[in-house]
């Protein structure tokens, strides 16, 4: 099993460290040539969605990744990664991959003073730690989207087929359960493809 981590900007090293601690091989996507390697899953990390979306396009990785996600590549999007996956943003005209049928509100908790830590239950995982940093949340979901977690009524985690979208940052905590959940999706994907 090998995971590609988008490394155009943001907190990608934290995901790599988490995956490595779980014994999983991962590598960075910085330019088109990196896509020549095969991989079984994709991580879209936190950072700035405007920067990442622009760089994925201009460094010529966007179309290939888009096609692979649509074809069922397991993907974990955290914070900015969730924004890249969302079909619609309620306060931004941009759409990036648009493969996750949800509407996301960017900077939904305001500026950095609105950043916070919470512990809430996550579908099938019990209570997990959640760090929200200038975070988005999910305003609405379309048919087939499973809501995995809410904080104070707002949706902060969803799953849609092989896509896992989170408005918080599991890569910043020592708790590995969310990454293990993602890896279980990757494991199912690679066994069904085989």
């Amino acid at each position: 099993m090998r995971i590609a981590v988008s490394a155009v900007q943001g907190a990608f090293i934290e995901h790599e460290q988490m995956l490595s601690s779980l014994g999983v091989e991962c590598f960075e996507l910085r330019q088109r040539a990196d896509l020549l390697r095969s991989f079984d899953g994709l991580v879209l990390p936190g950072g700035e969605s405007t920067v990442q979306g622009k760089l994925l396009r201009e460094l010529d990785m966007f179309d290939e990744l888009h096609q692979q996600i649509r074809a069922g590549l397991p993907v974990l999007g955290t914070c900015a990664g969730l924004i890249l996956l969302a079909e619609q943003l309620s306060n931004d005209p941009n759409v990036y991959f648009g493969t996750l049928p949800v509407t996301v509100r960017r900077n939904a908790y305001g500026r950095q003073l609105g950043s916070f830590y919470a512990e809430e239950s996550f579908q099938g995982q019990g209570v997990v730690p959640m760090k929200f940093i200038r975070a988005p949340y999910i305003e609405s979901v379309r048919e087939g989207v499973e809501i995995m977690a809410r904080v104070e009524g707002n949706i902060v985690a969803v799953r849609y087929h092989n896509q896992l979208g989170l408005s918080f940052h599991p890569e910043l905590c020592s708790d590995t359960r969310i990454h293990q959940l993602f890896l279980s999706l990757v494991g199912q994907g690679s066994s069904s493809a085989a």
Partner: protein, 291 residues
């Protein structure tokens, strides 16, 4: 400041990594910077090159001007306060700035004390020339560090010097016996715990960016290869001939800082770079402000 708030503030800096933070003076420039791929903007009335040219006392920007920039972009907005001027910092916190730069670019308000940054909820970034200075700022509550470089010159030499010195000092502490760390803490005038952290992790406990004198994609990639986790570009963009193109090229250079073919392509046809000033030619060394 509660510990979880400090963690969240350090983590916002982690989200900025691999990115470029650009100085802007108007909402229009902020939009250009955001469109070019800036991961944050620094709102200020005059960029360092103009502060240098104008002389006189340089202060925090007008909050109205900063708010205009906050309303113009969706990315984080930073602003500068004078070293030691905790009331300017209080004002910036009141307008919910995302990061305060306690900056030597402005005229220092206090020649002994820096701001007690632990008293604030908003995060601070501070400049440093060496490891001791960085750890002193972190001990005061800074959640991000940048090299001082020499702002407004377009001359990278000082940022390189500061980054290399920091790396050398970190390597030295990593190689020390544990019983030597107590004396090192005394020498650096910082708490033992911070020295122990550097010894164990081989890095600062917060994100470290390059700043001061970055003018070209090659400058930005140089600082990244020397270990910077991201780059501030001040005068280098909006003092150049083609800000949009140069800004976008610097952003891509930071992502692909080790790919020499791509750096060659990015360096082509950028128009005129900002006019540089060599350190021997300047009378005011901003990096000397604050220790």
């Amino acid at each position: 400041m509660e510990q979880s708030r400090y963690e969240l503030n350090k983590e916002l800096a982690q989200m900025l990594k691999g990115g470029v933070i650009m100085d802007v003076t108007t909402p229009e420039q902020a939009k250009i910077a955001e469109a070019a791929g800036a991961c944050a903007v620094m709102a200020l009335e005059r960029i360092p090159a103009d502060i240098r040219a104008a002389g006189g006392v340089s202060r925090m920007s007008d909050p109205k001007m900063i708010k205009g920039i906050q309303n113009a972009v969706s990315i984080p907005v930073m602003a500068k306060c004078r070293i030691g001027h905790f009331v300017e910092a209080q004002i910036l916190e009141a307008i919910e700035i995302d990061y305060i730069d306690e900056s030597e670019v402005l005229s220092p308000a206090d020649d002994i004390y820096h701001i007690d940054k632990t008293k604030f909820k908003v995060p601070f970034v501070c400049g440093s020339r060496d490891l001791g200075e960085a750890l002193r700022r972190i001990n005061e509550g800074a959640s991000m560090i940048r090299t001082k470089g020499e702002p407004g010159t377009g001359d990278i030499v000082q940022a390189v010097r500061h980054m290399r010195l920091m790396n050398a000092e970190i390597a030295k502490i990593v190689s020390m016996r544990e019983d030597e760390l107590f004396n090192e803490a005394k020498e650096l005038q910082v708490p033992y715990d911070l020295v122990l952290y550097v010894h164990q992790h081989g890095r600062l406990p917060v994100v470290n960016f390059a700043a001061g004198g970055v003018a070209t994609p090659a400058d930005a990639a140089l600082m990244m290869q020397l270990g910077a986790e991201g780059v501030f570009v001040g005068s280098g963009i909006f003092k150049s001939g083609n800000p949009e193109k140069r800004a976008a090229a610097i952003v891509k250079a930071v992502t692909n800082f080790e790919d020499k073919e791509m750096l060659a392509a990015l360096s082509e046809d950028l128009g005129e770079a900002m006019v540089g000033i060599n350190e021997q030619e300047i009378e005011l060394l901003m990096a000397e402000r604050g220790r």
